[in-house]
């Protein structure tokens, strides 16, 4: 208790002593109210940075996550952006293109050995870097698979489409679970493109043609995409997965409660699973639907706003944050994936032999960033709606056609988004 009380006092004294020389830098952060280690760690990071040198003083303002992007958009419109921005990886190209952000100007040698996801590039320059990445896995129990005689897949030998379908059918037929698989349809928004577009990619389609990012024709509505769509719709028609009206509580506890046999979920939700199932917990790679097995990449990252008057100070802060020490601390606190192998070795969960080690390997082997284009913001929403509609029974080809039309229309209205 005493330690708790004295620490802030020292911190305040320390700040008061150096404040006269320090230039203030504002930092916006998306995790207000997270009440877990993340918020505390960000504050600790800021405090340590402020104490570590005498030129800059970072002042943090936190926002609730779902409100964050709107708040930044509004602030940009009004010319009130902070110096340092926290940005979700796939959104970064939009903010860079719209001139909310400027290139970091960081020495790229410093980013060597990083996982691919946490380094945000646009137009050949690094605009943002993250302290962690996230990965998605098919979460289940070894005992469940063994009970139904299903092979346990590996990174080198993931399930094929047929194997996966058969596994679902077998578990469904047993009647032991409400649903064999939980896709997390309750999580609206970014979860859909993040978690589901890799499945489409594995079928051979994509949200947009990555060659120049000028059209989605034949990519989002080609044969591969239609095949994906039919399969996707089948999951819901066959009653293999809960639909778009799944409630958030079931999403959170369904696997643990035994409602679902498998859950397509992120590493951030893995710790409770390990706690509940221990060695029985399994984190499996995505099935290979024909075009390799992939998962999404890139989480929240730090960048510098275009209007910052002190980009060198902002960069100093970001470079200060890019230490294995912080990667490991955030990973231990939040269950997220550290961005370097050396940091991973220092963590509880991702060290060799650690319970979540598999996620580091997944992230390294399979991670594919979402389309790197300013149009992603619209494309993600169009994709989300198309998937929700198909899940609810809409005609697959017509829905994907409409999605392609909307994406292409948007690209042309934005004069190609600067590609």
């Amino acid at each position: 208790m005493i330690a708790k009380l004295t620490l802030p006092v020292f911190a305040t004294l320390g700040l008061a002593g150096t404040a006269y020389a320090q230039t203030e830098l504002s930092l916006w952060y998306h995790g207000a109210g997270s009440a877990n280690a993340e918020e505390a760690l960000v504050n600790e990071l800021v405090e340590e940075f402020n104490a570590s040198q005498s030129d800059w003083k970072v002042v943090i303002e936190t926002f609730p996550q779902l409100a964050y992007n709107d708040a930044v958009g509004a602030a940009a419109l009004a010319g009130e952006l902070p110096d340092i921005l926290d940005v979700d990886g796939p959104v970064m190209p939009n903010w860079a293109w719209a001139q909310y952000m400027q290139p970091l100007g960081i020495d790229e040698a410093k980013l060597e050995g990083y996982l691919p996801g946490p380094v945000g590039r646009w137009n050949g320059e690094v605009y943002s870097v993250g302290l962690w990445d996230a990965a998605v896995a098919l979460t289940t129990r070894r005992s469940t698979l063994e009970k139904y005689g299903i092979r346990v897949p590996s990174l080198d030998a993931p399930w094929s489409l047929d194997e996966f379908n058969e596994a679902l059918a077998t578990i469904a037929a047993s009647g032991d679970f409400e649903y064999p698989l939980d896709l997390g349809m309750a999580w609206k928004g970014e979860w859909y493109p993040y978690a589901f577009s890799p499945l489409l990619q594995s079928f051979g389609g994509d949200i947009v043609d990555r060659d120049g990012y000028q059209s989605a024709e034949d990519v989002l509505n080609g044969d591969a995409a239609i095949e994906f769509g039919e399969w996707w719709q089948g999951l819901f028609e066959n009653g293999y997965v809960p639909g778009t009206s799944q409630d958030a509580a079931d999403r959170e506890t369904g696997l643990l409660d035994g409602k679902y046999a498998m859950s397509w979920n992120g590493n951030w939700a893995a710790v409770p699973v390990v706690e509940a199932f221990g060695d029985d917990a399994l984190f499996l790679p995505a099935p290979d639907f024909g075009n390799g097995s992939t998962i999404g990449a890139a989480s929240w990252q730090f960048g510098i706003s275009a209007t910052s008057e002190h980009p060198e100070g902002a960069l100093a802060f970001i470079e200060f944050a890019l230490q294995d020490k912080w990667f490991a601390a955030f990973s231990d606190g939040t269950g997220l994936i550290p961005v370097t192998a050396s940091a991973a070795a220092e963590t509880e969960n991702y060290a060799p032999g650690g319970p979540l080690e598999v996620f580091y390997d997944l992230s390294k082997a399979q991670a594919l960033v979402r389309p790197v284009t300013p149009g992603y913001i619209v494309q993600a929403k169009v994709f989300e709606k198309a998937l929700a509609d198909i899940a609810n029974g809409a005609d697959v080809a017509d829905t994907l056609d409409a999605a392609v039309d909307e994406i292409n229309e948007d690209i042309s209205r934005n004069s190609g988004y600067g590609h």
Binding site: D70, G73, A76, L77, N94, W95, W97, A98, Q99, Y100, E178, K188, G243, T244, S245, Q246, D247, I377, V378, K381, K385, A388, D389, N392, G393, A394, A397, D398, D401, A402, D405, E409, D410, R413, N414, S415, G418
Partner: protein, 357 residues
């Protein structure tokens, strides 16, 4: 004489000015800006210059075509039928996508269709989502406005009795009003939850298990209805209070007179109560209509327009496009169209209610 007494340009302007001025600055001016945006390709975030595009945004929203699909025929010219005996048609996408013979159908989608003989007549729209939002908004208003006003009147009559503890009941009926609609939407997600949600549990309990659990917000047939029911539940108490204040301005002597005349309850309501409520009725109808057209929070929290666009509404679409998809011009265009629609309706409402006076 009266006019001389009440005529005062200076005092009139002076007293109206603060209110009128603030409205001009903070509502009318931004609205004109929104109208200006609707004639451009303005984006929320873009380095590209804003360009004047005329009424293109309006055409993109409102474009409608009618198209007749002829059945597939085999070589002998006979109509092709599938296994169930249904007539087979060529896919619409053959006509609407990059078909140089049908430039007017380019990019349009099926909105609805009907059978006419062997042919199928299809109505295509440039923006089916917008059209559905338009229809859903009207449905919502047409159901909610009368039902909510009627229920509110019923409650007001119920509560306008001289009984012990009546003010407790009045407070309870009003309670949902004080709870934010966002909060209410969150709570009702639990209530409407599929499977063993609250409503399903209650209904199944009341029917001794006969009731089969229903996915209230997840099925296209009940999603909008569920949201209507919730909205009425939340808002009815407020209008009850307005009715109540109207009821209490009716002179008790009129009721006494009616009683002496020996009129029954219905006659009393018809000839004493209702005429006394005319101004209140106009007010309530207008307020409910406005609130119903502005439907947004419930959709945003509960369904985001789904499933299959069955709960898309105009304001939600305006916000979704303007903020979510960074398309200020598209969002503004919807706002302007909404404004024009409601303007027409309120002019009509005023005309109708004025005539009766």
């Amino acid at each position: 004489m009266a006019s001389k007494l009440t005529r005062s340009n200076r005092a009139g302007w002076l007293m109206a000015l603060p209110g009128v001025g603030l409205i001009a600055l903070f509502i009318i001016l931004p609205f004109f800006l929104a109208f200006a945006f609707s004639l451009t390709n303005q984006r929320l975030a873009s380095p590209n210059p804003t360009e004047y595009v005329g009424f293109e945004n309006y055409r993109d929203l409102l474009g409608v075509s009618i198209f007749t699909l002829e059945p597939e025929r085999d070589e002998s010219g006979a109509v092709v039928r599938d296994e169930d005996g249904q007539i087979e048609y060529p896919r619409l996408r053959n006509f609407t996508r990059n078909n140089p013979d049908y430039p007017n159908l380019q990019g349009k989608r099926e909105w609805f269709s009907w059978q006419s003989g062997e042919n199928r007549t299809v109505v295509l729209a440039s923006d089916v989502v917008f059209m559905k939002a338009l229809i859903n908004t009207f449905t919502f208003v047409l159901v909610v406005a009368p039902v909510q006003a009627g229920l509110a009147l019923g409650l007001a009559l119920l509560i306008n009795q001289k009984l012990r503890a009546i003010s407790l009941f009045r407070a309870i009926y009003f309670m949902p009003v004080v709870v934010s609609i966002v909060v209410v939407s969150l709570l009702f997600q639990f209530i409407y939850s599929p499977g063993d949600g609250l409503l399903n549990s209650i209904l199944s309990g009341l029917t001794f298990g006969l009731f089969q659990p229903h996915d209230w917000l997840g099925s296209t047939s009940t999603a909008l209805g569920s949201i209507m029911a919730m909205s009425i539940w939340q808002g009815v108490g407020f209008h009850m209070v307005i009715w109540l204040s109207g009821l209490q301005t009716i002179s008790p002597t009129l009721y006494e007179a009616a009683e002496i005349e020996g009129s029954n309850k219905w006659q009393t309501f018809r000839y004493v109560t209702w005429p006394g409520l005319r101004n209140t009725a106009v007010l309530i109808l207008i307020v409910i209509t406005m609130q119903a057209f502005a439907l947004f929070a419930q959709i945003n929290v509960m369904t985001k327009g789904g499933p299959l666009d069955s709960t898309q509404v105009l304001v939600f679409q305006a916000v979704e496009r303007g903020y979510g998809k960074q398309d200020i011009s598209g969002g503004s265009t919807i706002s302007v169209i909404l404004f024009l629609i409601v303007l027409c309706i309120s002019l009509l409402q005023r005309y109708l209610t004025r005539e009766r006076n």
